[in-house]
Symmetry: C2
Subunit: 153 residues, 2 copies
């Protein structure tokens, strides 16, 4: 067994088939929620940096994570059957999300643009610029939540 094959076997064991495409609808919901939760954590860290002791490196790494997650093609996690709760796997997505794809693309595109700008600005390390871009990014999050996310349930 060559090293390459061994390495791939280990990797296959690691991820199993759990997340190999195509994903089950409930896994798509879980993973998209994971992505949003992880981005929210990093937004929270940036906010704490803006409001408190500014740590350029932490803010830059947080923004880089948000941008990279935003770039990773989460649209693939809204496949058929992911429009409602599946057992214990809850989703707050509204039916309109699946009916207004042009609007989804517009709002997702706006977020992606601002998230990448946020990463760029955060890497620059200038607090006032980061504060402004954090606000702009947050507005694009909120625009999509307002349009396509149900209230807590």
């Amino acid at each position: 067994m060559t090293y390459r094959i061994l390495a791939l076997s280990i990797a296959t064991l690691l991820i199993g088939n759990a997340y190999a495409a195509p994903l089950k609808p409930e896994d798509q919901i879980k993973i998209r929620k994971a992505g949003y939760s992880f981005m929210a954590w990093n937004m929270g860290k940036i906010k704490a940096n803006i409001d408190g002791n500014f740590n350029k490196d932490e803010a830059a790494k947080a923004a880089a994570a948000i941008a990279a997650i935003s770039n990773s093609g989460m649209g693939a996690l809204y496949g058929a059957g992911t429009d409602k709760d599946i057992g214990d796997t809850k989703t707050r997505v509204k039916a309109e999300f699946f009916q207004e794809q042009d609007k989804v693309r517009e709002l997702a595109g706006a977020f992606n643009k601002e998230a990448n700008e946020l990463a760029k600005v955060a890497a620059g390390g200038e607090l006032a610029a980061l504060r402004a871009q954090f606000g702009k990014t947050g507005e694009t999050c909120k625009a999509c939540h307002d349009k396509f996310r149900k209230e807590d349930h």
Copy 2:
């Protein structure tokens, strides 16, 4: 109200205080699991690219997400009280994780190094190199799982 204050108010509304530091132990567990799930999804995408139709752009974006998540300081999500299940919030971390911090640093550092190399290699777009680096990265995931993660429960 200036634009800046308005923007920050919106951002604050958006993330609420849910993920503002310091996080509750159950939120730390949820967010670290979210990070690992999101990385696993992206590892799965890279594997599908290696095994099937190679899409350089998708593989590069997946690897960038893994690296950025790895760089984002997830060690902060293993605070006091996160060593065991909290209600419905389950964790598979072993007690040893909190007792062998040098080993944790070693394994986490190895993963972080390989994840960043994975992002670099994936950005290069060369399939054979990506396959090799994917294997190396997977080994560092597995090393930590073997040492510090309980079997499914």
